[in-house]
Amino acid sequence: MTSFDAIIIGGGHNGLVAAAVLAKSGRKVLVLEAADDVGGAARTEEFAQGFRVSSVAHVLNRLHPDVVKTLELERHGLQVARDDFAPSVALSKDGPLVLYGAYGEVLTGASSSEQSAWKELRAQLLRYAGILKPFLSRRPPDLAGMSLLETAALGQTALALKKLGKEDMRDFLRVLLMNVADLIDEQLSDDRLKGLLAFDATLGSHLGPRSPTSLLGLYYRLAGETGGIAGAQMLPKGGMGAVVAAIRAAAERAGVTIRAASPVARIIVEEGRAVGVALESGDVLHAKTIVSAVNPATTILDLVGPREVDTGFVRKVKNIRMKGDAAKLNLALDRPPQFAGVDAAGHKGRLVIAPSPDQVERAFNPCKYGEFSPEPVMEITLPSLADPSLAPAGACVLSAVVQYAPYVLKEGWSAGKPKFLKATMAQLETYAPGISKTVLHIELLTPADIEARYRMPGGHWHHGELQADQMLMSRPVSGWSGYDTPVEGLFLAGAGSHPGGGVSGAPGLNAARRIIAMRG
């Protein structure tokens, strides 16, 4: 039997990135994927006859440039052209407002004073997000003992802060932990624009725009880049599965063996060291290094088991908050919908129903008490407009991320799902009148469905809330944020680790670099 240097558990995009980087370093790498295909929540799947859609993640806005470069993804089929950048359209009953280019280089539909206010705020947001950007591609600072290199890297951040100038630096520190609503109230007046920013800051997290620290979410979003342009976004041709296909191709080119439909039952630990994995099929595989690119809680509590680690660590892992609030709606439509007042280019972009920060906050309120939003906010894409291969001729795919749909719904999702769908469709109907009559097939994935289908506990995309207390050296838990774990030879490489979720590949890349540095 072939033996491997490293076994990667989980063939999501982070697992594949880690595998590819490790294989490029000369290691023999095996990826074990539980599902029938790799890609995790970043697949392109057929949800109705002839209709294909990105499974959960549907907008590419933060695939890390180091990942693209290290894996030479463009050589393996990833296409990123400036023309592909998708605009963001803030839908409103008063007519839409459109942000073109990379996160609103050009703003249309707003007053001229608002346009200049936005220009200033956008520059400031990108400047401040830029300070945080270098953190994405390295281990979080380790307060207990940093290497010279790490200390130097942190020093560079301090230098970057200083370069901002005294006023900007003070302002950066002032706003860092603010809520997004208060900040945008300081500088903007157009509710549509403010609603969009409030939505983007809170997308995928259990926060409303008026929750403390909600601005961090916007910085996280803007620290991402596409094609070298900060804040840019695109709908990948062929859906998110095409991005994963490129990563997979790079991994296979580097010699990675991928085994699908091979769920891991447990990680074998001997004398405090991970030595292999046992599959659900009963097969046992050994390797010097085990990398888990699945959820950190699943890894420690289910695969390793609490008996093999210390009580304090189990406590920390159990306390990782990961109850998702985002649902995914996939619609098969017999013709493209018409969103009121939106032009053809806008329809190929990202359409956001979040008409004001108050509406986002009101949508969040019920979810604190285990209820869904009666008027949900959402992000809609129509991927088949730019890539007709995703739908039968003349038909259209609608893909939407809908908030807020709490993982633990008081009435239970079997009772609540039809009601939530009705509320969601009512919202769509308001902005695209007549859309309901064109629906051929509906697929609504609540966080509970996402959990079951994609093995994401809590249905949480990020495998752990991306809030201040679960970021950097506190991700996934304090004391163990550097991809290694208390179990020697076991590493974490998924979105549950720093810097977190979204299709970035950064956790996988950072983890692989750590393993190589440790000669694991």
Partner: protein
Amino acid sequence: MNHHPTMNPTTARTAAQSHFRTLRLDTPFQPRIDALARTQDWYNWAGYRAPHSLWDEELEYFAIRSQAALFDISPMTKYRIEGPDAEAFLNRVTLRDVTKLKPGRVHYTAWCDDEGFVLDDGTLFRLSPTRFRLCSQERHLPWLLDSAIGFGVSIEEETEAVAGLALQGPTSFAVLRDAGFAGVEKLKIFDLAEFPHDGDTITISRTGFTGDLGYELFVPTEKALSLWDRLMTAGELRGIRAIGYTALNRARLEAGLIVANADFTTAGHAIRADRLRMPDEIGLGFMIDVEKGHFNGRRAILEARTKRKLRHVLVGLEIEGNIPAEHAIVYHKRSQEVGLVSAAMWSPMAKRNIAIASLARPFGDTMVEDLWVEIYAMRELQYQKLMKRAKVVQRPFIKLDRRTANPPADF
């Protein structure tokens, strides 16, 4: 896991709110102890009113060494740990190998946090293959419950439900036999067995904190007083005496035993980072079994051992002269401060001036020569500073054959 009896929430809240009306709880033996308490010298033991002494510290100490001393250990924290995984659970939580602890046996053990720092030490009683009692100084229920995640085990605090007595001293066996506990002579050191008492069952173990022949008795609270009376009656001609903590504390020092938060600061209490101690730093390294599988703190302890990060050592000292060196600073070459004495006394049994001290390695470890203690002896409102030579010696300071003799001697 059930750890709380179900109670109507309102009733429970009302009950919990009145806790402040009793500043120090009484133990189930309090009526008897109060009747004997001439000195009225109390201290707070884990929230209970416990005696420092009852009538005379000196005579109470000699009751341990030449008669039979009865000491109320009810305030000791007690957990009932039961279930098919109880053994595996305790093996993960505590340092020693619990699979080697047979039913009917007791061992002294300790447990650590993730960083390998000692949370507490205590005694583990194996009552059956699947049932244990863990006794300790501090309270640990949240820690134990969180440690139980993934184990088929239930943990219940039984501090209030179970009263305890230590009966220690040369005549203790005779007292128990005369009290009618048939078969108690079969108990070897660290054995335990159940005995009928007053229509109920009590547990007697041949254990103690004195280094002497002695036993510990655990009794349901309702039968506490009848047990006390039974022992006192049977022991009348064997010189049985109730004692307080001061006397016990002397006996334990002679036996070389350490006390949590007196000889070391437990990890849950330490505020200053350098006060935390690993087992190897307080003389408990012998408990660590690295072969038994994972246990809390294993990784950190092994790392500290390999990377030589152990910074302290706990030692027994013999000090010249006869002035107790309580809390004296320990010096190397009379000048360099290297540690502190945590307990000290003139030992009437050893006829030596003894102490337990924590030293900064390598002192006390590889460098044991030229150690001194500085004793401040208060003499009519003036300190007389004495620099006395100290020698690192083995613990226990006294070894009594009667502690382990089989069958136990009849004095």
